[in-house]
């Protein structure tokens, strides 16, 4: 599904959740006592989740904030990120049983953020990498994958580097990156800065596959050497095996 920017924004308008701005956080803190009074009444009630819904805030993020606050109060030192991450992944590690329950509720009910969703994202990403690998093998295109590249000491590693470049829609492709997500403006720009341009800087032009589509207007760097596709390309031109006959 490739959307125009206008189409995407229309959807985003509908789905928009409260951005984690300072103002909303302040509101959150003011209402913090509600949690305590709430859980005292009934430890099993989904107080935290409701709070998040009321605030129009992602439940897992809400859980994170509460947890941070909780740990800060109990241990007197700001908790490290890894500890919090680990507790979010496994709420049973949270010393307070009620909070553990509340956090768990938030996490399982959040379909956008949180360790569970991250895990699903990772799985989908991996799935598509395997899919891409199979397609490459099927097309008889030889490549080096990320692990092989890392072993060779490459400092930046796309999913696949083609050992022999091909052309897609008239553009030379040296590498292919698989993204099992929708390419919106924000994520694409982050990816460009952190990954795609770095690949270009080292290996030349390449292809990004956003398996769940992307905003058409973002595919504007084709001439520069970054090509976007929403599926595995069909018209791949390989280096001809009988150049002389052409």
């Amino acid at each position: 599904m490739i959307l125009t920017k206008a189409q995407y924004e229309e959807i985003a308008q509908c789905l928009v959740s409260v951005p984690p701005t300072r103002q909303s956080l302040r509101k959150l803190k003011q209402r913090f006592p509600r949690y305590l009074s709430g859980v005292v009444k009934d430890g099993a009630a989904p107080v935290l989740l409701e709070l998040a819904n009321e605030m129009d805030y992602a439940p897992s993020l809400m859980a994170r904030i509460i947890l941070e606050r909780f740990l800060q109060e109990h241990e007197e030192t700001p908790p490290s990120k890894s500890v919090i991450n680990s507790m979010l992944r496994d709420p049973s590690q949270i010393p307070d049983g009620v909070l553990a329950n509340q956090v768990y509720q938030c996490i399982v009910n959040d379909c956008c953020y949180g360790p569970l969703v991250d895990c699903i994202k990772h799985a989908i990403g991996h799935e598509h990498e395997v899919l891409l690998r199979d397609l490459l093998l099927e097309k008889n295109l030889s490549f080096l994958d990320e692990d092989q590249l890392r072993a060779k000491g490459y400092d930046k590693t796309p999913d696949f580097i083609l050992q022999v470049p091909v052309a897609v829609e008239g553009h030379i492709i040296h590498w292919i990156e698989s993204k099992a997500s929708f390419g919106d403006e924000c994520s694409h720009h982050a990816y460009l800065h952190d990954q795609f341009w770095s690949y270009w800087n080292r290996f030349g032009p390449g292809l990004v596959i956003y398996w769940y589509g992307f905003i058409q207007e973002l595919d504007c760097n084709r001439e520069r050497g970054i090509l976007l596709k929403a599926s595995f390309p069909t018209d791949i031109v390989t280096l001809c095996h009988s150049i002389s006959s052409s």
């Binding site: 060779k152 400092d155 022999v164 008239g170 341009w197 030349g204 084709r222 031109v237 001809c240 002389s244």
Partner: protein, 997 residues
């Protein structure tokens, strides 16, 4: 030394154009004034003489390189040619009356007519240089109506030069930024001292390209400033380069990127221009050329800043210059200088192929041509342009601390600065490199980059002893590059022209003292380099072409612009000169259309090498080059050799067929070639097959075992493609010429083998079919086996023959002799062998022919010792006659070489006959008659032989008998033999006869 007049003129026109020493009228070139028509008739005869003299001196000064910049002088002359009108200044001289004497002080150019007259006079003497300019300039010159008016002869010579010129120069320089690829061998963690350094460099690489991309996007926007836009980011990045080793990594990246982006890609990469393939598919080839010219007109800067622009950093070079300036990092500059120096030395020392002195002419000749085709010049151009780029940046960085916008220091300050600077060692020992270059006759490579380096020097540099000696050497070289001197093994014309252009440009750069050219004369002593050193160097190889000349010296294009502006300014009658831009529509240029398959494949092949180690590319190119060359040799040895064989048999057929006269050899060759050359087309398919078969194995043998299969197979295919392209390009251009050359060589070889000189051939030509057979036999030296049960070799046959002759000639034992049967058998064998021809070679056949004539002589003289009853020691006459008949038929039908029948009447053989007792002339007469009868010898020929025989000194009686023979032979009808037998005469003095033999 005082400035020569030419230089004075030049300085006036070039550096302070529009200023005049006196108040004399000035040529005005401003466009808004209508051009005044120039008329040769309005140049007075006195003025003519004067102008002609000055033009003569001026041209001589130019020819001897006594002016600093040849092209500046040409520019000045063209300015005169295109002057619109004269503008009187302040106190204009009153035109002296017709009778007034011309004082030296009176102005040389009084009006436009004088200017044009002088210009044409000079141009006439500069035709050689002019004819090497690009086609566009030649066209404009040839079409200049003033030039036509003043010198139709010069105009027609220029037109001829224009029509003969192939020097189309395209100045559009497309470029596409491509990143330097990451190579694990040099770029992975193992090459860094710490993880931190590794990761820092990782980030730097990304920042560098980010900055580059931003520059590409914005640098043409008005108001965008490099320093404001990127300066702080660059400095922040440079600040992270703490470890020294990181600096060297970054410098390597910087330098590689510089070379990749700023080289002339048209010459270097050989990739199709920009979007050309797309447009081609839309417009077709003919319109593409126009489109490209239009692109050039729109993209090429309107003016490169006059005929002597100061050094600039055009295009992408600007990014690298500004990067260095913004970074303002001492460490970076130092590392950059180190790296540039190393690379310059490496490239400068590169062995560039030279024409091998050909010991085996044919082969190396082919090799050289293949390589020429495969980019000999291109390789030189790439190396030279890289060197110029690197040297320019080295000069820029090295002299950066000393260069500023302020005017040159005053004399008083100079001394202290000189004292300081003269003890600083040079960044690179360019003097030594220059000396080596001159000695090795590689000035054409070394001088252009050295000039780039020196062009960025500051005002003090030319005053330092070290650099002054370099300028001395360059001046010396400049003087020695006399264009009119062309010697075997000397420097090629265009090589010289390039050096003159770059040196001339250097001498005009503001930082080089104006008087250096005239003051430094003769100071090159002690550094004198023997430029005339023996041995062929790069200088004598035609490595420079017009494209390279104009790429290195874009300011030469100012000549064209000057002429073009004259055309566009001279209104009305110039409609045909300025081409209008006619709009051409394309369908949706915005959307990218599929590229042509070849273009995309070429791009893919280029891209393939991008991320592979450089050695892979070198290997593939090497294999392609060798296989391509071997392929040509192979085709020569097989296909061409076969065609030569065919040519030989065809030639024979043509001559044997009845009614066909032996034609002029040149004509024969022509018809043969027209028959055979079309077969040359097979060469291409055979070449493809050869390259297909041979290249993969060679690539496989040379690449590492561990090369991945896909990479290997692509490398093999690219090698096959390149080798095929090389071979086919050469073959399609040269196969016809090659076949022609080989066939011609074969024919002339055959004619040489055949022996006699053209005079003798002419004689034969007139005589008979037998001799024409002989000719064609000689042309066909190869055996033509015919189905024969028995193969006789000429050696087998000639041995017994010789025996017979030896026995006849004696001395012999009494019991020795030959039987008639033996002679008969011998002649039979000879006939068979001649018909079979399997083992026959022309010399053997010639030998046998001679032997057979000798045998005939012996038979005629009855000198064959016959075995048999003691009484009968001589051959029976009837038998002898039969043998002679057999010989006649051999001569007539079997021999294919000319038979030296005139030997029959040689004094020696005649002596044999004279020695017999009783002498019998009948057999000789019979033989002579039969020879004429059967067309083996012309009557006139025999008469001539007999005539010359009679002139020799013979005993009285023999002379008489010869005279009788002569008269008998002349008598037309057959005379029966008994009559002759009766005419036996007294025994001659044997001694005398023998003495004559």
């Amino acid at each position: 030394m005082a400035s020569p007049p030419g230089a004075e003129v030049c300085k006036r026109s070039g550096r302070c154009s529009g200023r005049s020493a006196s108040g004399s009228p000035l040529p005005d070139r401003t466009g808004h004034l209508a051009a005044e028509p120039a008329d040769p008739a309005r140049v007075s005869s006195r003025q003519r003489q004067r102008l002609r003299l000055v033009a003569l001196v001026y041209s001589a000064v130019m020819a001897e390189n006594l002016v600093p910049n040849l092209f500046l002088e040409l520019y000045f002359v063209l300015q005169l040619l295109t002057a619109r009108r004269m503008v009187a200044t302040g106190d204009s001289h009153p035109d002296p009356g017709p009778g007034a004497p011309d004082s030296v002080g009176s102005p040389l150019f009084r009006n436009v007519h004088d200017c044009v007259f002088f210009a044409v006079q000079v141009l006439e003497r500069q035709l050689q240089v002019l004819s090497y300019l690009d086609k566009g300039t030649l066209k404009l010159l040839a079409e200049n109506e003033r030039l036509l008016c003043f010198s139709p002869a010069l105009q027609s010579r220029l037109r001829a030069a224009y029509e003969g010129s192939v020097a189309k120069v395209s100045l559009a320089m497309p470029h596409s930024a491509q990143a330097v690829s990451f190579q694990p061998e040099t770029d992975n963690r193992a090459n860094f001292s710490s993880d931190r350094a590794f990761h820092t460099f990782k980030k730097q690489r990304d920042v560098f390209y980010e900055v580059l991309r931003e520059w590409e996007d914005h640098h043409e926007e008005p108001g965008w400033d490099f320093e404001k836009g990127l300066g702080s980011r660059i400095r922040a990045m440079m600040g992270q380069l703490s470890a020294a080793c990181s600096h060297s990594h970054f410098v390597r990246l910087f330098q590689k990127q510089l070379l990749q982006m700023c080289q002339d890609p048209g010459g270097a990469a050989g990739v199709v221009l920009g979007e050309a393939p797309d447009v081609l598919s839309m417009l077709g080839a003919d319109k593409l050329g126009r489109l490209r010219r239009l692109q050039e007109r729109l993209l090429a800067p309107q003016s490169s800043g006059g005929p002597c622009p100061p050094p600039t950093f055009p295009g992408c070079q600007g990014f690298f210059r500004d990067f260095i300036l913004s970074a303002s990092s001492f460490q970076f500059n130092q590392h950059l200088m180190d790296s540039l120096s190393l690379k310059i030395q490496e490239l400068n020392g590169l062995t560039l192929p030279q024409p091998e002195p050909s010991e085996d002419e044919g082969e190396s000749d082919v090799d050289w041509q293949v390589r020429q085709n495969g980019g000999e010049r291109r390789q030189f151009a790439v190396v030279m342009l890289s060197l110029r780029l690197l040297a320019k940046f080295l000069g820029f960085v090295a002299f950066l601390p000393y260069r500023g916008p302020e005017p040159p220091p005053t004399r008083e300050l100079q001394d202290s600065i000189l004292a300081l600077r003269s003890q600083v060692p040079p960044v690179l020992d360019v003097r030594a490199l220059l000396q080596q270059g001159l000695q090795a006759r590689r000035a054409v490579l070394t001088v252009p980059w050295l000039v780039e380096f020196l062009s960025l020097a500051d005002h003090i540099v030319p005053l330092l002893d070290y650099y002054r000696s370099i300028f001395g050497l360059l001046l010396h070289l400049h003087r020695s590059l006399v264009l009119s001197e062309e010697s075997e093994g000397g420097m090629c014309f265009l090589n010289k022209l390039l050096l003159l252009a770059v040196l001339g440009w250097l001498f005009q750069i503001p930082t080089v003292p104006e008087d250096l050219f005239f003051l430094e004369e003769g100071q090159a002593d002690g550094l004198e380099v023997d430029i005339e050193a023996s041995g062929r160097g790069l200088d004598s190889v035609p490595v420079v072409d017009q494209h390279l000349l104009y790429t290195c010296c874009p300011y030469i294009g100012e000549l064209r612009k000057l002429l073009a502006s004259w055309v566009s300014g001279s209104s009305g009658r110039s409609g045909g000169f300025v081409r209008k831009i006619t709009p051409t529509t394309t369908t949706g240029l915005g959307a990218r259309l599929p590229q042509t398959i070849q273009g995309l494949q070429a791009q893919l092949a280029q891209a393939f090498f991008h991320n592979q180690p450089p050695s892979l590319r070198r290997t593939v190119e090497f294999v392609a080059e060798r296989i391509g060359s071997n392929c040509v040799k192979h085709i020569k040895a097989t296909l061409v050799a076969d065609l030569v064989c065919q040519a030989e048999s065809l030639l024979q057929e043509q001559l044997v067929s009845p009614g066909q006269k032996e034609g002029d050899p040149a004509q024969l060759l022509e018809s043969l070639c027209s028959q055979l050359c079309p077969h040359g087309a097979q060469a291409l398919s055979q070449a493809r097959e050869f390259c297909q078969k041979k290249s993969p194995g060679a690539v496989r043998a040379l690449l590492p075992e561990e090369t991945p299969a896909a990479v290997l197979s692509s490398a093999e295919n690219i090698a096959v493609g390149l080798a095929t392209e090389k071979a086919c390009t050469w073959l399609s251009a040269n196969i016809t010429a090659l076949i022609r050359r080989e066939v011609k060589a074969a024919v002339s070889r055959a004619l040489r083998v055949q022996g006699p000189e053209p005079a003798a051939r002419g004689e034969r030509r007139g005589c008979s079919r037998a001799s024409s057979l002989a000719v064609c036999a000689a042309i066909s030296p190869l055996p033509q086996p015919q189905p024969q049960p028995q193969h006789d070799s000429s050696s087998l046959c000639s041995c017994p023959h010789q025996d017979v002759l030896a026995l006849a000639a004696g001395p012999r034992d009494p019991e020795e002799g030959v039987s008639p049967e033996h002679v008969e058998q011998l002649l039979g064998q000879l006939s068979q062998m001649l018909q079979c021809r399997q083992y026959l070679c022309p010399p053997a056949e010639q030998h046998l022919a001679k032997c057979s004539v000798e045998l005939a002589s012996l038979l005629v003289a009855d000198q064959v010792p016959v075995l048999g009853p003691p009484a009968q020691h001589q051959l029976e006459r009837g038998q002898a006659r039969r043998f002679l008949n057999m010989l006649l038929s051999l001569w007539k039908d079997d021999f294919q070489v000319p038979v030296p029948l005139q030997l029959l009447l040689s004094p020696r053989n005649m002596g044999l006959l004279a020695a017999t007792r009783p002498r019998q002339w009948d057999l000789l007469l019979f033989l002579l008659r039969e020879l004429v009868e059967q067309g083996l010898m012309g009557r006139a020929q025999i008469e001539a032989c007999l005539g010359s025989l009679r002139e020799a000194q013979w005993p009285e009686d023999i002379s008489k008998e010869l005279a009788t023979l002569f008269s008998l032979f002349l008598a037309e009808p057959h005379i029966p033999e008994p009559q002759l037998r009766a005419r036996e005469l007294v025994q001659p003095n044997r001694g005398t006869v023998l003495a004559q033999s």
